[in-house]
């Protein structure tokens, strides 16, 4: 994450250059500007989206400065609690002990769902399998199921594709699909899993290999891959991921992405969050996430 962070800092600095240039001119005109800087910190999953929002918002409102850093959801929430960040980005809900720590500090955290992250399970278009349950996907990725025949397909070996282990998507998929959300489970990806360094690596292999199964953020899925409908369990209906099914919660492999503020936001922070939840939503799908509204 170090490199990303350096890029972020540079991007923020670059974006700040024109501001520095015009500020003295404004203040000499008499109107004293306090030059508020909104500090935003947290989830690495969310950091690119947060940066895109920040850049666009600063372009629209040159008088506001935003600084975005990653470091992880926990880091961001801790910074929000101790007052060094105005907004915490998080890819999970605040834990009860974090809420307790905030309240002990005299802060009532306020939660905003800013976008959703859905993971699509993809196969080659020539694969006759259309649907899988979470249990079946878990068995496939742990190496218990090794042939497509066992899940209603052709007699072909299954080739497992995954993102690299440092990707947030990897961790989310492991915890919620491979381990099926069971906290005490110690199941791991099969050692035969191919770890691809990029989304493009996954899509290239899925495109040309009828044996392959892969997963990736819904926004990264290209039309030449077949997206599977996924069921929570054998009794539930199979659901295809889309903005609609992700937002109403019927697609099982999705999660909300959050921003937290210390108390009800006001001033620039409120204006910024209002824009993120409204006018800024069009940037969400560009970064591979699912917007709150279609």
């Amino acid at each position: 994450m170090r490199t990303t962070r350096i890029v972020l800092v540079m991007a923020v600095l670059l974006a700040a250059v024109p501001l520095c240039g015009c500020r003295p001119a404004q203040s000499s005109g008499g109107a004293v500007q306090t030059g508020s800087t909104i500090q935003q910190k947290g989830s690495d999953t969310l950091v690119n989206l947060a940066l895109a929002w920040a850049e666009e918002y600063m372009r629209l409102h040159p008088e506001v400065r935003l600084s975005v850093t990653g470091g992880g959801s926990g880091t961001g929430i801790a910074a929000m609690i101790n007052g060094t960040a105005d907004i915490a980005d998080a890819s999970r809900e605040m834990k009860p002990e974090e809420v307790a720590a905030a309240e002990a500090n005299g802060i009532t955290p306020v939660e905003f769902v800013v976008a959703r992250d859905a993971i699509a399970v993809v196969v080659n278009p020539s694969n006759p399998v259309d649907t899988l349950t979470i249990q079946q996907i878990s068995d496939i990725y742990t190496g218990k199921t090794t042939n497509w025949q066992q899940v209603g397909g052709e007699d072909r070996p299954i080739v497992l594709l995954s993102r690299e282990s440092n990707s947030g998507t990897y961790v989310y998929f492991l915890e919620n699909v491979v381990r099926m959300g069971q906290k005490d489970s110690d199941m791991l990806f099969s050692p035969d899993t191919l770890l691809m360094p990029s989304s493009e690596g996954i899509s290239a292999e899925v495109r040309q290999n009828p044996n392959a199964i892969g997963y990736d953020g819904l926004g990264y899925v290209t039309p030449d891959q077949k997206v599977l409908a996924v069921a929570r369990d054998a009794a539930s209906p199979h659901v295809l991921p889309s903005a609609g099914t992700v937002n109403d919660g019927s697609y099982p492999i999705s999660r909300p992405l959050y921003m937290y503020t210390a108390g009800q936001p006001s001033g620039d922070v409120k204006a910024y969050l209002d824009w993120v939840l409204g006018g800024g939503q069009y940037l969400v799908s560009k970064l591979g996430f699912v917007p709150l509204t279609e």
Binding site: T3, E164, P191, L194, L195, G201, Q208
Partner: protein, 285 residues
């Protein structure tokens, strides 16, 4: 001026030493913090504190040896053709073209391998996926070829003309002279060529990361070569960017770097000792 050159010469040696010291400083803690059973185990799940480097070491070794097995006959044959058989005009064209080969960026070869060679390997050999050790070995063989050809050709060039004349004078055909006299006389140079090619192959990262599938499985069994593997270089490249500085995982990646350094050093040492022997014997072998 003389001092300047001396300082520059020593500074490059100094840099190598400093890099090695840095590698040791960052990597040695891994060997102390992690019990050897885990560090040399068979399961590489760094996010879950399983740091078995065995699949990575064997993966690198397998892909390198296969690459050399492919490029050795091709490279030596090309060198023999260019030096001994080809007419002058063909040699003038071939030699610069072989050097151009060495200049192709590895990421380009990796992309080529991912989109064209991998599907072909899957279909021809019936492997579940085309991203295999064999695909990586093909790309690496191609990358090691220019080194092998140039060094082997130099070795053939160093064989005195009197050897060839003697062979022909005894009634041997041109082919007999080449295979029984000239090539054996250049043997040590050819071994050096292979060692240098090997050093190039084991350290290659980008192309390997793109075509070998990066699955950290133990490459055992007869079909291992047509299955995915994960090499040491690809592991370092893929994981170093995101690892928390100072964590165990960070130290282990440097530890893998040390293992890789020791392997490459051993290969280069072998190459150097072969060259040294050749010099001692007076330049003929």
């Amino acid at each position: 001026m003389e001092t300047l050159i001396r300082v520059l010469g020593f500074s490059s040696i100094g840099f190598v030493l400093l890099i090695f010291l840095f590698l040791l400083q960052e990597g040695v803690p891994a060997f102390l913090e992690i019990e050897p059973g885990n560090l040399f185990g068979t399961r590489w799940y760094p996010t879950f504190d399983l740091f078995g480097t065995m699949p990575l070491i064997l993966g690198s070794v397998l892909v390198t040896i296969t690459a050399i097995a492919i490029s050795l006959p091709l490279g030596v044959a090309t060198a023999v053709f260019v030096r001994e058989v080809a007419p002058n005009w063909a040699r003038e064209i071939l030699k610069p073209m072989i050097e151009v080969l060495a200049g192709i960026p590895s990421v380009v070869l990796g992309f080529f391998g991912m989109t064209l060679i991998a599907p072909a390997v899957r279909e021809v050999f019936g492997a579940p996926t085309g991203l295999t050790a064999f695909t990586g070995a093909l790309i690496l063989a191609y990358m090691a070829l220019p080194t092998i050809i140039s060094v082997a050709e130099d070795a053939l060039d160093a064989v005195p003309k009197s050897y060839r004349d003697a062979g022909l004078a005894m009634g041997a055909t041109q082919w007999q002279t080449i295979w029984r006299v000239v090539v054996p006389a250049a043997r040590s140079g050819i071994v050096t060529a292979v060692m240098l090619g090997m050093g190039r192959a084991i350290g290659e990262t980008m192309a390997v990361m793109m075509v070998t599938g990066n699955a950290a499985r133990m490459p055992l069994g007869l079909d291992a070569i047509f299955r995915p593997i994960r090499t040491m270089t690809a592991t370092i490249a893929a994981e170093m960017g995101e690892v928390a500085q100072g964590s165990i995982h960070y130290h282990v990646l440097f530890g893998v770097g040390i293992i890789l350094f020791v392997l490459t050093f051993a290969i280069n040492l072998t190459a150097a000792s072969v060259m040294f022997k050749k010099r001692r014997r007076g330049g003929l072998r």
